[in-house]
Point group: C2
Chain length 374, copies 2
């Protein structure tokens, strides 16, 4: 039985471990013993309590395993990945770090490892599907809409953060790099809102976010955009907060004391965004891929809609992210994907037959990817 | 020539002094020498630079005058008024203080002074008009809508503060006391928004504010309400800021430092509310007075609409407040109004012939009070 170690026992890391532990010998490492104990009470895993922010620890830790899953917080992700590659281990990583992953490409090639990065739902599954089509047709336009939302609207924000709230604010502040007519263009965060109607969720509002990431480099597609979905009205509010300066992390002086507005805002705002226990939520992904295939204009629309799983108490956010990751993990372990170096998910999708295998594994877990073509 | 001293050379105090100085010997007192010098450069006034927050100073200062005008900031108003009454001087006051003015009633009667309080536009002119009708009919319902707004809408707030911004936030936070079916009821600030259409201003939104003040005590009218006007959408935003906690003045701890959210909010928000130099603005007042007169159902609607005066560079806020005050000041000086003790403006309106004299003086200054009756 192959041995896998999952670095990080957070919401997604635990869903990943739970999904793999019946087929593989799974160990989970985290600083937080409670999370490890809770998971071990429900699933057949080994646990190691360890401070993963210490790079030396990680390289040592992963020595005896066949595959590593990286599921640590974004701010730690890059260095953790480096340590795993230094140890010469194949890795599938979902941590949403800011650094350019290709900075580790030479190292990964030298060490002869397969390192899949950004392997969640979006980035992740979206990249896989685009990579597949990009290998079979001339893609002119790629649009990706994604969002995780509560079922119940709680005014005034009608939003709950099912992942790290500070990363949510990042999305509202970080300028979005998109591609227009072949050029990378930087758009203001929260810009160009559009209304999109979905069958289950109704009218949602989509705004530019900086989610294309590796695609900006790997895809020669003249028009690419990623937009995040929220209930209507949320974006307008966030714009006001941002424009007034409540998201700023520049210190200002109040009565002789220095304070960053974002620190106060976070303290006041996050209680409003905290989900209730087992709050119903859903994840939506919609891709529109257009171009030319066999001399004809062609358009593909993919939709994924997943809901909180009451049986396993797993959020759709954890499921769609985690099960894309575990699907790719299996394909790395069985040799179906064995490219060396830093491999964003679009490389995985380009390998014949792989995308369908991933869809099958998702279907087995009740995640359905619907496809329409025109 | 009668001698008048104006306490406070702010926006309204200076408009008051400028209006009186051709008919009376006017002195203006303030801590700020620049304001005094600027005013003296344009008008025939005497000036005294003095710290009016020191009560002993005020009693001394007003000794040789026939009438005092109180135009100091709200937080100073009550004590300044007390000092003037102690000196035995008649006074017409516009400062918007929180304390109950009737607390000075015994003192004013002992000293045999006429002390008119809250003598601006609303409270002020609105009270005068209600006092008039209350003396002539059985009033069942009184509705007062008032607001000072910029002509130009600047998103997202579509608002500029033409008086003290911290008092604007007070209006958004302080619960509003209204009268419903004969009982004083406390409504949440910003509650019960309604849309009202005006000829010049278009659709405005009105919400409950705590402006009835002395009327709660002096009028036995079963239904009374005051609402403040804003452009639509402004109130929703203010509710969010308030509900999240940005207007709170309870200290919270950020990184070991204690801070009141309101202090940060004020620093970030007020630049958005600062009017441009000579920015066009307007003041709207609408009163609906209903009841029974001479055995028949009767309804009166009063409207005042005034704009920034480009010739004298005086805001409509200063004009409507200041010229109501100066009108009443003349009537106190010539004996038309000579009731002793604390006199809210509704007492002034109840004296036969006085309201018409006030309307005439306003008309001379291009402030028109239109009246419709049904």
């Amino acid at each position: 039985m192959k041995k896998i170690i999952v670095l990080g026992c957070g919401m997604v890391g635990s869903a990943i471990a739970a999904d793999l532990c019946d087929e593989f010998d799974v160990t989970v490492a985290d600083l937080n013993k409670n999370h490890l104990d809770e998971l071990q009470a429900k699933h057949n895993i080994n646990t190691i309590q360890k401070d993963l922010s210490s790079p030396g620890n990680v390289t040592q830790l992963v020595r005896d395993f066949d595959l590593v899953i990286g599921a640590v917080p974004g701010f730690m992700g890059f260095e953790t990945l480096r340590s795993v590659i230094e140890a010469g281990k194949d890795v599938v990583d979902i941590s949403f770090f800011n650094e350019d992953p290709f900075g580790l490409n030479e190292l990964a090639k030298d060490k002869n490892v397969t390192a899949v990065v950004d392997c969640g739902v979006s980035p992740g599954l979206s990249n896989i599907i685009l990579g597949y089509h990009n290998s079979k047709m001339k893609v002119d336009s790629y649009k990706c809409y994604v969002g995780g939302l509560p079922v119940k609207k709680s005014p005034p924000f009608n939003y709950k953060a099912f992942f790290s709230p500070i990363d949510v604010i990042e999305e509202y502040v970080r300028p979005a790099r998109i591609v227009e007519n072949g050029k990378v263009v930087v758009k203001e965060a929260l810009s160009e809102p559009e209304i999109i109607e979905f069958e289950y969720a109704g009218k949602l509002e989509a705004f530019n976010t900086d989610g294309l990431r590796t695609l900006l480099r790997t895809m020669k597609i003249p028009n690419m955009i990623e937009k995040t979905l929220r209930y209507p009205g949320h974006i307008e509010l966030m714009k006001v907060f941002r424009d007034v300066g409540f998201f700023s992390n520049e210190e200002i002086e109040i009565d002789g004391r220095k304070i960053k507005p974002i620190d106060l805002t976070v303290k006041l705002l996050f209680p409003f965004w905290k989900p209730e226990d087992d709050e119903d939520e859903f994840t939506l992904l919609k891709l529109i891929i257009e171009g030319e295939e066999e001399g004809k204009k062609k358009k593909y629309i993919y939709t994924v809609f997943d809901k909180f799983d009451r049986e396993t108490k797993t959020s759709s956010m954890a499921r769609t992210t985690g099960y894309t990751c575990t699907a790719v993990a299996r394909l790395v372990l069985d040799g179906s994907f064995n490219q060396k170096g830093i491999c964003p998910p679009e490389y995985v999708g380009a390998v014949p037959g792989v995308m369908d295998k991933i869809f099958d594994m998702l279907k087995e877990r009740n995640i359905y990817v619907s496809e329409e073509d025109f």
